[in-house]
């Protein structure tokens, strides 16, 4: 994270962001590989789980809503951030809850049923 912080001081070019682009590309490869192995049975819970995970945008929303309100940080900016926090929270709460609810339903055949 050092490099981007330096970039803020010297708003130069793309170079400073290359480490972040590395992270993006590598994470995408991991993502493609991991998701390819997800059971097809679970594609619906997978979508609700990724809904919840993408609600990590709450981090950005907190950083926008968080700073002390004043001349440098107008109130309405914080309000946008708070709305974004609420929207992301909807997804965190409903995403994890419904994923768990659906996964509870997937049951294996009990041995006695086979008889």
């Amino acid at each position: 994270m050092m490099t981007p912080i330096l970039a803020a001081a010297a708003p130069a070019g793309l170079g400073a962001y290359i480490p972040l682009i590395f992270v993006f590309i590598l994470a995408t490869f991991i993502g493609l590989d991991v998701i390819r192995n997800v059971s097809r049975l679970l594609h619906t819970p997978l979508m609700s789980l990724t809904n919840a995970i993408s609600a990590i945008v709450i981090v950005g929303a907190i950083l926008v809503a968080g700073p002390q309100i004043g001349d440098e940080h107008p109130l309405w900016i914080s309000i946008l951030g708070l709305i974004a926090i609420a929207a992301a929270s909807v997804n965190i709460v409903s995403g994890f809850l419904i994923t768990n609810r659906m996964l509870k339903m997937f049951k294996s055949r009990k041995p006695e049923d086979k008889a």
Partner: protein, 470 residues
């Protein structure tokens, strides 16, 4: 804590959260470990949010407001997690809308914050990331709302098309991108920013209106991908690796699911997005006036009773009729007789990826008996009875036999190769794509007309009554 230490702790929390998110998805590879995956995701979220609250930029005076916003979101989120499973596609679309909205609002806030400060922090790269975040975020917002509206049937499910639609759509998106380019040239041209937002919002609506119900699985998966990419863009705006990693995971998930859906329909992305499938007036390959044989649910039950293997092919019709619990009763009755029962699941059956599996799991059908299309097709000639339950296009032999059919080339569940076919349907009306299904007029096919729930209930009742007499 000194600021340096604080920053290190925040970064370590983000690192742990990133690893947990990866494990969360990894554990979804089997139903046995999947619930562990949910917990990994929850802890990752706690670490991510907790770490962010430690950031020195977050003022203590803001914390009550942040807590309030989280509570408001939670109060909406809890009922949204309790919807019936048939409504899960709508819920998913709706939550993509919330995700898109959050991303769009954060991008908007950052833009105005940085221009307000004078613009020295608004580098060209950041401006690019903000434009991408805001366009993706807001088009996902309105697009997903439209998709949810269509799935909930508040809006007409049929594709809405008009002349020159493609040109208008491209001009709208092009306009939004042009505004973005303008802002790259000079970020202080603030008048361009609201235009960019409006065009992105409009494009989301226009992208979805020509798309019909049967294409929704692909579209929902694609919107999932956009929501993830907007989180990635936000990560670039805020120099935040956690956002980039989580967004990339989400984006690749949506991408893979859309590829799976497209392959299962033998269509390309552009064909789904711009093809307006449902508006195609199909060339009806089947001969007019072909005779249809029908049977009562009782007769159908007796046929199944004689079988060694029964394969049930569920489709959207089963979901609409909420028939899954009756299906379970039928399944129990057949299993009791030692009949081998399997469910053949087509990847695009239903309105979202994996929809049928969740509904059948809700009815307590063991997941070992839910079989994928590629696994069941080679066994079809040995299957005594196929019960088609609210599925239509996914069992239409025209996909193999009729090169003129709009669904030609789409992989299907080869019900036509089984010894006997029982098809439960409300009427002889063609399915979504408006294509006649020659499966229904085959010699070995018996139609059972009626509501799926009632018909399957009657079948189960017949079998239950029977077993009492023996």
């Amino acid at each position: 804590m000194s600021p340096e230490w604080r920053d290190t702790v925040v970064q370590l929390a983000y690192l742990a959260a990133s690893v947990l998110f990866i494990f969360s998805l990894k554990w979804m590879n089997s139903p046995a470990s999947a619930r562990r995956g949910v917990w990994a995701g929850v802890w990752a979220m706690v670490l991510g949010v907790g770490g962010t609250l430690l950031n020195p930029a977050v003022a203590v005076s803001s914390l009550p407001w942040i807590a309030l916003a989280v509570m408001v979101g939670g109060l909406i989120g809890v009922p949204l997690s309790k919807v019936p499973l048939t409504a899960v596609p709508q819920r998913t679309a709706l939550s993509h809308a919330f995700g898109g909205l959050a991303a769009g609002l954060v991008g908007t806030a950052k833009y105005y914050l940085w221009t307000h400060e004078g613009g020295e922090n608004l580098t060209t790269f950041r401006m690019f990331a903000i434009a991408a975040e805001v366009i993706l975020g807001f088009l996902t917002f309105t697009g997903s709302l439209m998709a949810a509206g269509k799935l909930q049937e508040i809006l007409p499910g049929r594709p809405i098309t008009y002349r020159g639609q493609l040109i208008v759509n491209f001009l709208t998106l092009g306009g939004a991108i042009a505004c973005g380019v303008g802002l790259l040239i000079n970020p202080q041209w603030t008048f361009l920013f609201p235009i960019l937002i409006i065009l992105a919002l409009a494009f989301g609506v226009m992208l979805i209106i020509p798309i019909g119900g049967a294409d929704m699985p692909t579209v929902i998966a694609l919107l999932n991908s956009y929501a993830g990419l907007s989180a990635v863009a936000m990560g670039f705006v805020l120099d935040n690796t956690l956002l980039i990693i989580a967004g990339a995971l989400d984006g690749s998930s949506g991408l893979i699911l859309s590829i799976v859906m497209c392959k299962a329909m033998n269509r390309s992305f552009s064909n789904v997005l711009f093809g307006a499938f449902g508006s195609v007036q199909a060339d009806t390959g089947a001969a007019a006036g072909a005779t249809v044989k029908s049977a009562t649910p009782e007769e159908a039950a007796e046929i199944m009773e004689q079988a060694d293997t029964v394969v049930i092919v569920p489709g959207y019709g089963m979901a609409v009729a909420q028939a899954q619990h009756r299906v379970r009763e039928l399944y129990d009755q057949l299993i009791k007789r030692g009949i081998n029962v399997k469910f053949a699941i087509h990847p695009v059956a239903g309105r979202m990826p994996g929809h049928m599996n969740v509904l059948l799991a809700e009815a307590d059908i063991p997941y070992e008996d839910l079989v994928e299309m590629d696994e069941i097709n080679p066994e079809m000639p040995q299957v005594d009875v196929v019960l088609v339950l609210g599925a239509n296009d996914v069992v239409n032999p025209a996909a193999k036999n009729n090169p003129k059919s709009p669904i030609h080339g789409m992989p299907i569940i080869e019900a036509d190769r089984a010894k006997t076919v029982l098809a439960v349907k409300r009427s002889m009306k063609p399915g979504f794509a408006g294509i006649d299904n020659e499966l229904y007029t085959m010699d070995k096919t018996l139609m059972v007309f009626g509501d799926a729930k009632a018909v399957v209930g009657d079948m189960a009742k017949t079998l239950a009554g029977d077993s009492g007499m023996h």
